[in-house]
Subunit: 494 residues, 2 copies
Amino acid sequence: MGVGCSSSLPPTVNNPHCSITFPHTSAHTNPTSNHLPINWLARAHLQKPTKSPISKRLFTLDSARKTPTLKCGRTAQMEIEGGSDSKPILDLHSLDDNLVQKMVYDALVWSSLHGLVVGDRNVQRSGTVPGVGMVHAPFALLPTVFPENQWKLACEVAPIFNELVDRVSLDGKFLQESLSRTKKVDAFTSRLLDIHSKMLEINKKEEIRLGLHRSDYMLDEKTKLLLQIELNTISTSFPGLGSVVSELHRSLLKNYGEHLGCDVNCTPSNDAANRFSEALAKAWIEYNNPKAVIMVVVQPEERNMYDQHWLSFNLKERHNVTMIRKTMAEIDKEGEIQPDGTLLVGGHAIAVIYFRAGYAPTDYPSEAEWRARLLMEHSSAIKCPSISYHLTGTKKIQQELAKPNVLEKFIDNKEDIAKLRKCFAGLWSLDDADIVDTAIEKPHLFVMKPQREGGGELTFWINRHPLPLSFVLAFHMLTGLFYCLQGTISMVMM
Amino acid sequence: MGVGCSSSLPPTVNNPHCSITFPHTSAHTNPTSNHLPINWLARAHLQKPTKSPISKRLFTLDSARKTPTLKCGRTAQMEIEGGSDSKPILDLHSLDDNLVQKMVYDALVWSSLHGLVVGDRNVQRSGTVPGVGMVHAPFALLPTVFPENQWKLACEVAPIFNELVDRVSLDGKFLQESLSRTKKVDAFTSRLLDIHSKMLEINKKEEIRLGLHRSDYMLDEKTKLLLQIELNTISTSFPGLGSVVSELHRSLLKNYGEHLGCDVNCTPSNDAANRFSEALAKAWIEYNNPKAVIMVVVQPEERNMYDQHWLSFNLKERHNVTMIRKTMAEIDKEGEIQPDGTLLVGGHAIAVIYFRAGYAPTDYPSEAEWRARLLMEHSSAIKCPSISYHLTGTKKIQQELAKPNVLEKFIDNKEDIAKLRKCFAGLWSLDDADIVDTAIEKPHLFVMKPQREGGGELTFWINRHPLPLSFVLAFHMLTGLFYCLQGTISMVMM
């Protein structure tokens, strides 16, 4: 039996006009992992071995593969199936400034009362101690117009991508071979591959597999196609705050919808926090040790902790499951594996390991963290993700899967294959000389993406001044170029 | 027809042990108005003239005079009807320190996710801009044991006190005469009395009267009697955060009750935020101008703004009534009265004026604020409170009401009178030489209270060092003397 579930977040952009009217506009969260994507779908996925044919192994928690319905039917906002270019519902510049200011004030109050908060980087302890140095999370004041058919498509392909990740993860040889050249130039991926190799050597089986994934999409301006930018398989952020942002938007539309000419029912609710918790709880049940807990692996400083706390709160409140928080260093210090494979950390048996750290080289400042990762991988705990799921999320694998006849190795259903392929944006590595020439010639048609998770590792040079990636993305957004996507360059340095 | 409603907050003390384990223990809120009382009952009250006899004018919004029930019946915690001395449910010192630390962590997370926050005084804009510089509100980790019968009594007498306030407020001569000596020595009360006189002169009638009151009680250690310390008729704080604290306690008891030996059902829920909003909405409906709004009068800097925002959020969410925020200075600048008596502020017709400022001399730094107060009093808007209700809440009036045969002037029902009188703590002014001698001789038996609202205006001297009132209260609490109350001294300087 396998379990998968999908949940969606309505597409949101940070509207530049609104952002600059907010009292607090600096980025609070770590740009290497937590930048709020333009459009994303959060997806939960749990696989367990079964005797049933692989093509029928996916069991939905509730409504996976069933596209959520909108109460509004096809209104003006959602009807723009071929004509939308992901603009906010309304052009705020055309609105009365007093009205916008009122909405901003109400939104700030609402955020404070409903836990839409992050740690303020100006307050020293805000990344380590909850309840101090809080500031509203950065948010878009209103949701973005998004074509209903593309949104439904994103919901529809979510469980197919889950299935794809699971099947690719089971093909150790494919992973090792596809990443063999990356291994030579990327020390971090190389160490992940070493752990993967060790697991292959001892024939370690992950009998229960849990994925909490997030696909990031952009809508192509010219073709109006939904193009997948990346599929995150580790530390997918914002299921918690993303759900709350949707509620904020619904609250604002309820109160101001009449002035804006928008119907609150056109904004789909976002159940990601509950669905993620549900999937974690389901994994905990499958592990079948009532005394065990779920462990979330965290960075020593985490200003986006409340996004994670929403999950732990939901887990306790709705499923009576306890979640503990440990850093990689703490796991190295306190962790041990019992003869039956049970991972003990600080005396707690661990049923599920939920990674919200461990995706970037900076998460492994010493050998202690690598020891911890290996220890966890050796244990019988359900890893979210396992080393195989983690590697499956790399851009290089994404690129491999986009090659002709590769998807067919992993997915049987032709229709499913066609749906996935339709979402693939062009994806090239930098060793393709022709495409590099084209990119230099027409830079506005390309976006450069790092090989690893989290972004923010690229440095762009403009007029000899280095600019961090997040700035470049913002720059693109302000100039409107961010939506002119036709392909991505996978920056695999080989 | 008159409307009154009562709501209750379970008694809570700041347990010194827990408080000092919190990351943020400094007082965040203005001690002159917002110190969290040890035990309090929040009460809402709306009066409207009717032809029915005065003794039957009180109409309950829903469950006033009906004591809330507890699901636990009479458990060990609630049974201590004669033996409690308001201790926390458990002595935290006897608990495992890890357990306490876990509860503290969970409580801090819960507070952050559920809007139990205040502005941090270390962040400059935290008192003016919502969503920035937030920190968890100071709270007691667990509720306090409190005798069920006394709690029920407090709920029972709440509407009787409401009725008393209303009737006293209608007796302008009684108010003026009782406060005539205070007027000579207290410039602030003197100016309030001037406004009151002007209203009497023009025979101004408040046809719809709204009171949002809070009675603060202590349990006398020796007699086990519930003694009223003061009755607040203006700017009663913490209906919003108080309700959230109760939910926090219920959440902690739900998760840790088994370890603590406590049943969550023994903690009554606190509906003060909803009840206050309900009463404000009811007043808005009675005013009968669908375009009018409710105006909350605020201080220019208010770090306890989220307590107020909970009410405005509830008003909008549950009653679709808009609340705007204005300072006294803004009201002076933007306010005007139309020929029909309607108060316009910034173009908004005002149905209800809800004071969360205006109770202390510091709220009137210039003549502008006094002009604003007079303007509001002249208008047809429903004032919460009117100048009469405000004056009725002074200690001097409380003291007058405690004299023999005074209650009888205002309340007909003998049983009601007996119930109120049972709650009166001894109350003396400083012109009673005998009682002053007794207080000097046995200082631990007395608490000194200022004449006006908000506290914090007294300065105590210990070893020649001045100590603010809040420190003295904390000092008493730590030494246990805070509960040895036998009487209060009303510090009316005459």
